[in-house]
Assembly symmetry: C2
Homo-oligomer: 440 residues x 2
Amino acid sequence: MPGVMELLPMDQAAFQEMLDVIRRGFESYGFLPIATPTMELAELLLRKTGGETERQVYLAQSSGAADQGEEPELALRFDLTVPLARYVAEHRNELTFPFRRYQMQPVFRGERPQQGRFREFYQCDIDVVGQDSLSLRYDAEIPAVINTVFANLGIGEFTIGISNRRLLAGLMTGLGLESDDAMMRELDKLSRRGPDEVVASLRQRGASETSAQRLVELAGRGVVTGEAASALLAELETTSGAGLAQGIGEVREVLSLLAQLGVPSHRFGLDLGIARGLDYYTGTVYETTLVAHPELGSICSGGRYDDLAGHYTDRRLPGVGISIGLSRLFWQLRAAGILPAPKSPVTALVALLDDEGLEAALQIAADLRTSGINTESSLEPRKLAQQLKYADRSGIEVVVVAGPEERAKGEVLVRDLSRQSQEFVARSDVAEAVSRMRSV
Amino acid sequence: MPGVMELLPMDQAAFQEMLDVIRRGFESYGFLPIATPTMELAELLLRKTGGETERQVYLAQSSGAADQGEEPELALRFDLTVPLARYVAEHRNELTFPFRRYQMQPVFRGERPQQGRFREFYQCDIDVVGQDSLSLRYDAEIPAVINTVFANLGIGEFTIGISNRRLLAGLMTGLGLESDDAMMRELDKLSRRGPDEVVASLRQRGASETSAQRLVELAGRGVVTGEAASALLAELETTSGAGLAQGIGEVREVLSLLAQLGVPSHRFGLDLGIARGLDYYTGTVYETTLVAHPELGSICSGGRYDDLAGHYTDRRLPGVGISIGLSRLFWQLRAAGILPAPKSPVTALVALLDDEGLEAALQIAADLRTSGINTESSLEPRKLAQQLKYADRSGIEVVVVAGPEERAKGEVLVRDLSRQSQEFVARSDVAEAVSRMRSV
């Protein structure tokens, strides 16, 4: 089917391993899991969306609905933010605030299928949601989590770019420009369209040549880290614009806390080119890029918002969050050859050479499993060469053989496929021998 | 929304833990993961289903479909077997046979919501699929996996009942009865309707009183284990019916292999009351029940089938598999009070008493995470009593405090909430101290 990413088992295992690493990273910072239903009432899910999202939503109906009387219209979730808003509003009295949740589920969009753009794709989100207020300090914790997650994914060096909508709006005002969402979206296009085109469209929106050039020059510097970021913030302070000083102060505190949280200084910095087009964001905004693969664009984005669930509750729920679009990232990493070779979750194959050896083989397999070694057991006898070839192609590291000769001696042959070595061990030592090979 | 199971974070963590235990059990036997799309072409998904399933399927359409020209109709998967059939047929040349896969995903049915019956629920399936043929030995491996999984879930003792459609058909023929699917379904109703009602309906279908009584008596014995199972099989051999001897031989081999696979003898046995109504099954059939909670019915069912994907490919693909309906099981276990108290995935809370202590608190939290301890860090100062209460309610075991006095001495207070004990340790020893408390 076009528009979906269906994987062969070894790739699926690699994808799951990425999900696991992300989950462990989220949990290491004390985030708790939630999962929301795939389908929600369409009326609820679409309450806050504009035209674009609405066009791409999947609507669903039970084929038996006509027999069952009136059924409300259902829609499949198209992100994890709207379901989070509904969840927090619905369970508000049972949750503790600040509410720190992670959520890793597929979302659905009826987009025209393209390379690497899927109609069903995993999002891996974290958010911290406060009640009435939420400390700016959480704006620093979010990229610290992302640093842990991407470091553990082992997909190469990355940079977390941080900006601030309040700072950007103040800067625009200070330069005599409009500071509305349309301007933010223009700025956001810089990396795709280049400076000349963005300067031209800023000019069309009434900016002076000097101001447009200045804004585009600042936004084009990329991620500015360490001392240079402090210098850039000091430079910005010479401009005056409504909210600019507050925005600068916020960025300064976030950068300072990130250092205290132990995030290496080359991994994060100020990037005035990050504006995030959505009017949803009100303060800090983030984008993350791979250093060796800037062409992949942002692999993880998010920011601070003033009110999560205004459509569902009167209580103000400010928050900050970030999202990894994992299906797309996985697809891109694989296409770019960055993914490590998939490893089988199966460590050992117990070969079977003759039917008389079945009982011994089954018991060896049971022993290995008891020792925590994932083990496939051949249940039909085949030539050893065939079974070795099967293990090799399947990424299984160790093959254990108890043929007639080995059984007569009370021994087992343990063969390490990756190192092309083998040894005979006593039957009782087989689990220990396999563990040893695996850990080398 | 009615008909969905939406959990609070701690329950969600417990649900995920069950998914993890099941996955590790599947992988320990060398099964590999696949995942199929939530939506498939309705034409493909419904190719083999009869009326009942078809009525309960969710059909989906993108809200933008009208703008994008003709879109084929989509349906949400209602089980994992039909998608497996489509997957194996589609990727046949890229898979190795016997193909051993596990799949753990939600499925969707537009049923009228009832207690513990959900419209979206997780199924956890394993299947071994052969090409042209598949050894009976795999019929024994499947319940061995289930034994490992349920033992590791720690939800009390259970029994895996095994029967065989060929044996049952032979037995019915031998008793002068019809042996069609309708008869199998009658037999399957025994535990719900009781012997009298089933005898009466067998009589209506033309069975003699003696034959009906005999069949119902045999089917009503429940799970017969160990030596008694061998005796029962020997007793059945005195009857003659087409296929009976083959069925008896198959059951005998499966029971014998299960013992060789190390499954304790009280955990499995022959249960002639298991017929599985579906005409899909052709040989071995399974049901699993909790010893202390027979009222929950079968918590895991499956069996052997002759051809998985006849609707998608000409190649014959015999297989054997089993399915755990986890959402329903989780709901039932929770309602019956069998689930262990949910444990938070978060081990430690680093409390914050004063803003001056923020940097120290962040660094302690970073140290704990580096040592593999899932740690939440309080980012806003509050009274210690409040933070202790929060940790206690959240199931966090250890609270770490570096208030002004502790910082002045280079110390940290580490408090074990479950044992109501605490100690002061040097700042550099905090990770070691928390690890020690956790492992007690």
